[in-house]
């Protein structure tokens, strides 16, 4: 019988808290058995930004917080036989791996065995050729920035089996960060679909960090979370049959209950009977949850079936410019003054010959629920006449940077030419990246791992 594997989460997105992993590692050490620590730091958009960073400097393009995330736990993990697996390699896993080695040296640690998993990047000419054929005439030739396929857990499992202490990945599927260690630990068959699906859902529950332990959950009076400011990050106990128990780091805030686990189980899942990953199609349509202890929830009845024939790839291309400008109005008739300001900006842009669609929001009356087309904002909103503190926001996307800049100047001009009492103008201009996704044949992607010499 193989001992259960404890899988801890040290981060759930790029920019996550850098002091979250230490309590997790302490709990893994206290548990005493086989354990692994995973860092998930790569959203769809994060990777494209990393690709741009690498373009600017070939030594960049990995998780900017890599040092801050690893420094507090690297020594403890190495000393206690806890491998670290992360997609913090982003667009440049080799550079990240070198940085891990350098960090270990700076911390006075013996050189760790660091592995790089790669093959996800399809930005090279051969990759582009494949994508060009799949996407057809819509392929954004001139504006192409990068493309990455979501690869599975094999490279991670192989790297760990080869003795890696730190595994640096780029665009692996998020749950693969748990599936790889599970495969290395239990030695399951890559056709054991049920167990693969259970490890996948373990990874799914862990991949967003605190989102399963009371983060992104609290709603005062409805869903209260104890000490949410100190929310502990999750730890899954996975046994050799793939049974999942979700818990969290000791001596932390937050909670693990049926509600937090259900919300995260369904998070970004479309058909619950067919959660597609590179390694397996997981089925949670009959999954059950049970509170088996304080802050401990068992997840059962996860099934799996044969992995999809193709891999998902995301493709990014330059999408012009986004301009955003804001100004506040307060006191009597505030919303009416904000609406007049919107009208002024719109007419000015028309007058200047820029008939591009502008999105307006009246923050405090209606903003995030509204649509880019402005259909909802056209209707008077409940309570609008009583609004006393609102902020007009104007946003525009355009190919031409000068048009985007013109919008910002017009928002700024509301200071002296707009309605009474406007204040607090802030403007921002940034380059936009557009995205499309497609399916690529597995034959187009050669995933592999390399152990640094």
């Amino acid at each position: 019988m193989t001992a259960p594997l404890m899988i801890g989460s040290g981060a759930g997105f790029s920019g996550d808290r850098t002091d979250a992993a230490l309590p997790v590692v302490r709990s893994l050490i206290a548990a005493g058995g086989p354990a692994v620590l995973m860092f998930e730091t790569l959203a769809e958009r994060t990777l494209a930004l990393a690709q741009l960073a690498r373009r600017g400097n070939p030594a960049h393009g990995y998780e900017p917080l890599l040092d801050a995330l690893l420094a507090p736990v690297l020594g403890l993990c190495l000393a206690n036989g806890i491998p670290i697996v992360g997609n913090f390699g982003a667009a440049n896993p080799h550079a990240a791996a070198q940085r891990v080695r350098a960090l270990a040296a700076e911390l006075g640690l013996a050189p760790p065995r660091v592995a790089v998993v790669e093959g996800d990047d399809l930005s090279h000419e051969a990759g582009r050729a494949v994508l060009r054929q799949i996407v057809g005439p819509d392929f954004p030739e001139a504006r192409f920035v990068c493309a990455n396929a979501y690869i599975g857990a094999q490279g991670i499992a192989d790297a760990l089996a080869a003795g890696a202490q730190v595994v640096v990945c780029g665009r692996v599927a998020d749950p693969a960060l748990a599936v790889g260690p599970a495969m290395a630990h239990f030695g399951w068959s890559w056709q054991d679909w049920d167990r693969l699906a259970r490890a996948t859902m373990a990874g799914h529950l862990l991949e967003c960090g605190a989102q399963v332990t009371g983060g992104y959950f609290a709603d005062p009076g409805m869903k209260d979370v104890p000490d949410v400011h100190a929310v502990g990050y999750p730890i899954v106990r996975l046994d050799e049959d793939g049974n999942i128990e979700v818990g969290k780091a000791a001596d932390t805030g937050g909670c693990v209950d049926l509600r937090t686990v259900k919300e995260q189980l369904l998070y970004e899942v479309h058909d619950p009977a067919a959660y597609l990953t590179p390694d397996v199609i997981a089925d949670i349509s009959a999954a059950t949850v049970e509170q088996v202890g304080p802050d401990r929830v068992a997840v059962r009845n996860v099934r799996g079936r044969e992995r999809p024939g193709q891999l998902k790839a995301n493709l990014f291309y330059e999408g012009g410019w986004i301009a955003e400008g804001e100004i506040s109005y307060a006191g009597p008739n505030a919303a009416a003054r904000a609406r007049l300001a919107a009208e002024i900006v719109r007419k000015r842009m028309d007058l200047l010959g820029h008939a591009a669609p502008i999105r307006f929001d009246v923050i405090g009356v209606l903003s995030v629920f509204a649509d880019d087309g402005g259909r909802l904002l056209q209707q008077p909103q409940a309570g609008e006449a009583q609004a006393r503190d609102v902020r007009l926001r104007a946003a525009l996307a355009h190919e031409d940077k000068s048009v985007a800049e013109t919008l910002l100047r017009e928002v700024n001009a509301l200071y002296t030419c707009g309605p009474a009492g406007g204040g607090g103008v802030r403007t921002a201009l940034r380059a936009r990246l557009n995205a499309m996704s497609c399916l690529v044949p597995r034959s187009a992607v050669t995933a592999s791992h390399t152990l640094l010499p």
């Binding site: 769809e44 919303a335 995030v368 087309g373 995205a435």
Partner: protein, 129 residues
Amino acid sequence: MNPTTSNTATPAAGAATAATIALYQLAHGRTGDKGDRSNISVIAYDPRDFDHLAAHVTEDAVAALFSYRRPSAVRRYLVPSLQAMNFVIDGVLDGGVNDALNLDTHGKALSFLLLQLEIPLPPRLAGAG
């Protein structure tokens, strides 16, 4: 635009009557996104309410609630073992996280739009057994 008439309801503020209740009182949920597709879970606080929610929180009801965002498709998946349903709503994110002009490009807040749906009181609260 004259903002003095406040009786034009946003989709968020359905016409509540004594016989209805906001879904928010009976269920919780979370929104996720992939591209221009939003998925929103709706999970019954009380397992006894699940069948009632399944009867009233339908694809049509959700499509109507989101109609101003012009969804191209609304699909509902039931997961009775979790007392949950999962809505997959296509084309409501104005292109998605990289394209939309919304402050909330992910549509993270949309679970709370869905939870404002007004539905009939469940039997256990309506006193009808």
